[in-house]
């Protein structure tokens, strides 16, 4: 049984500019004592030698098996960070994270993609990063290649691909593994209409098999189609959890305000 449980999770990102990253600046700040400034939302602070951005601010969230939940909120409210905390990439400064179940994530970005390697080699590489063994990759390789519809291009270097071809390859590999917890950040990248349909269908199948699906998106159709529930996030907090319709209504109202 998959479950996600976060209690009072706080994540601060230290933002270093070229100067504050250096030893010299560090040494200087000990002498001069940093001044403290803050912004109106209280999420940015200047603690001595570094600027801190509070990405998550005491988030409590429990997601039980069988839940498909959407994360709704403006840009920069911490949706992606929340997904990455659940994925185990960021270990929070304070609070507890307890996640059970194998995780698959579509977090955007080109994990482990090497433009000099061929599409086939990139499939293998990504598979290894996702924790598959070489034997498991060999089993799935033909399926993944079929899904990309790249044909002879699969043996060309990735750098020769168009944006749409890249998105196809990216999506096909990432969705080749079954997982109990599926994390999706934003919808799909480039790709023509027929591919988007095909991808959505595959995502749907993947979501059906997973115990928990968490989607961060601005796309209302995607959220309505994939999720039953949604969480409204603002300024690093999860303010409310409810049905998708309720939360989207509240979100749209907050945008209009």
């Amino acid at each position: 049984m998959a479950s996600v449980h976060l209690a009072n999770v706080t994540v601060n990102f230290p933002i270093y500019d070229a100067r504050s990253r250096s030893l010299k600046r560090r040494a200087m700040s000990v002498v001069t004592r940093g001044r403290v400034r803050s912004d109106p939302t209280g999420r940015i602070s200047d603690a001595g030698h570094r600027v801190l951005v509070r990405a998550l601010d005491g988030v409590d969230l429990t997601i039980e098996h069988g839940t498909r939940i959407g994360l709704v909120g403006r840009n920069g409210v911490g949706k992606s960070t929340l997904l990455r905390v659940i994925a185990g990439i960021y270990v929070p400064e304070a609070g507890q994270v307890a996640v059970t179940g194998k995780i698959a994530s579509l977090l955007g970005g080109s994990l482990g993609i090497d433009p000099e390697l061929s599409g086939r080699e990139n499939i293998e590489l990504r598979g290894l990063y996702l924790g598959l063994s070489k034997a498991e990759i060999r089993e799935r390789l033909e399926d993944v290649i079929d899904f990309t519809e790249l044909g002879p291009f699969i043996d060309m270097p990735f750098r020769a691909y168009s944006a749409g071809m890249r998105a196809r390859l990216d999506f096909a590999i990432s969705t080749a593994i079954a997982a109990e917890i599926l994390l999706i950040d934003e919808g799909l990248g480039a790709g023509d209409a027929s591919f988007i349909d095909k991808a959505n269908e595959r995502l749907e199948k993947l979501a059906e098999r997973a115990g928990i699906v968490i989607v961060a998106s601005h796309s209302e159709p995607l959220l309505r189609k994939t999720c039953a529930r949604a969480a409204f996030t603002e300024a690093g907090r999860v303010l409310a959890i409810g049905s998708v319709d309720e939360v989207l209504e509240r979100y749209n109202a907050s945008l209009a305000a």
């Binding site: 990439i89 960021y90 970005g109 090497d114 000099e116 293998e124 590489l125 990063y129 070489k134």
Partner: protein, 292 residues
């Protein structure tokens, strides 16, 4: 009975029986290292196929469209050694049979050691985009780096063959001692990755400092010259960790077993370095992703 349990509280066996909350408050020697050890172990057990492949990809992609591929590393190294020996042999006053193997094997070993030091400082920075997208042990990037340099070393073993044939130096039983020598150097590579990789992710001025020092150490370490040629600079040899780690590779390749002193110091450096690096890595491992 109660008192007896209390006195035994410091030992791992007694600690195991206690709930984990108590365990963290008491001082148990291995707890400060647990996080780093777990990372090293998971990276070794679960991700070996990954870093073995990525180590190869690193080399293959660099030479993708070239005919000779990774052997260019060997050729350029060979050419450099030939040039150095041409100039330095008369200066140092050696003959081809002695000086050429000494310089060639010393330089091959130096390439391995110095590249491990320099690349350690970039090991997490270079893999930043992946670290920010993937939950995986950080040790996989360290293993990948060490493995890549072992592959390069394997290509460079051609230099060993060429020099051995040219000077008539045949392998002996002592040559096999290069295996423990290499193991020591690789463990140091892992320690450097844990220590410098973490430190440099946070402070970006350290990589150029490391590169500068390493470059200087090439001249200060007996590679071009013999340790006994500069008796008044004995300090450079006695207190130079690079010397001992170089010697456990170069000595066996020259058919000489390194002295007991060399082995003990090299092992000591390796052990102490590993413990310090592991403690540091355990403490800051979780912060690395925030610094990238």
């Amino acid at each position: 009975m109660e008192a007896k349990t209390e006195t035994g509280a410091g030992t791992p066996r007694a600690a195991q029986r206690r709930p984990s909350a108590t365990l963290q408050r008491r001082f148990v020697p291995w707890v400060p290292f647990a996080r780093g050890l777990r990372d090293l172990w998971q990276g070794w057990r679960d991700y070996r196929e990954l870093w073995i492949s990525t180590g190869w990809y690193d080399i293959r992609k660099r030479y993708r469209r070239s005919l000779l591929g990774p052997f260019w590393i060997t050729i350029s190294l060979g050419a450099f050694i030939a040039g150095l020996s041409f100039i330095y042999m008369p200066l140092v006053g050696g003959n081809a049979e002695n000086y050429l193997p000494y310089l060639a094997f010393g330089f091959v070993a130096w390439q391995l050691i110095s590249n491990l030091v320099i690349e350690s400082s970039n090991v997490f920075i270079a893999n930043g985009p992946i670290i920010q997208q993937l939950r995986a042990p950080l040790s996989i990037y360290i293993y990948q780096m060490v493995w890549r340099h072992l592959i390069i070393l394997a290509h460079n073993s051609l230099i060993y063959v060429a020099v051995a044939v040219f000077t008539g130096l045949w392998p002996s039983w002592q040559t096999l001692l290069v295996v423990p020598g290499l193991i020591l150097v690789c463990i140091n590579g892992i320690s450097l990755g844990m220590l410098l990789g973490t430190l440099c992710a946070r402070f970006r001025d350290i990589p150029p400092i490391i590169a500068t020092i390493t470059q200087m150490m090439f001249l200060l370490t007996p590679i071009l010259w013999h340790a006994d040629q500069l008796p008044r600079r004995g300090m450079l040899v006695a207190f130079n960790p690079f010397y001992y780690l170089l010697e456990v590779i170069r000595g066996p390749l020259l058919g000489q077993a390194p002295s007991l002193l060399v082995w003990s110091v090299a092992t000591g450096i390796t052990l102490i370095g590993f413990i310090v690096a592991l403690g540091f890595f355990s403490r800051f491992r979780d912060r690395v992703v925030y610094w990238l």
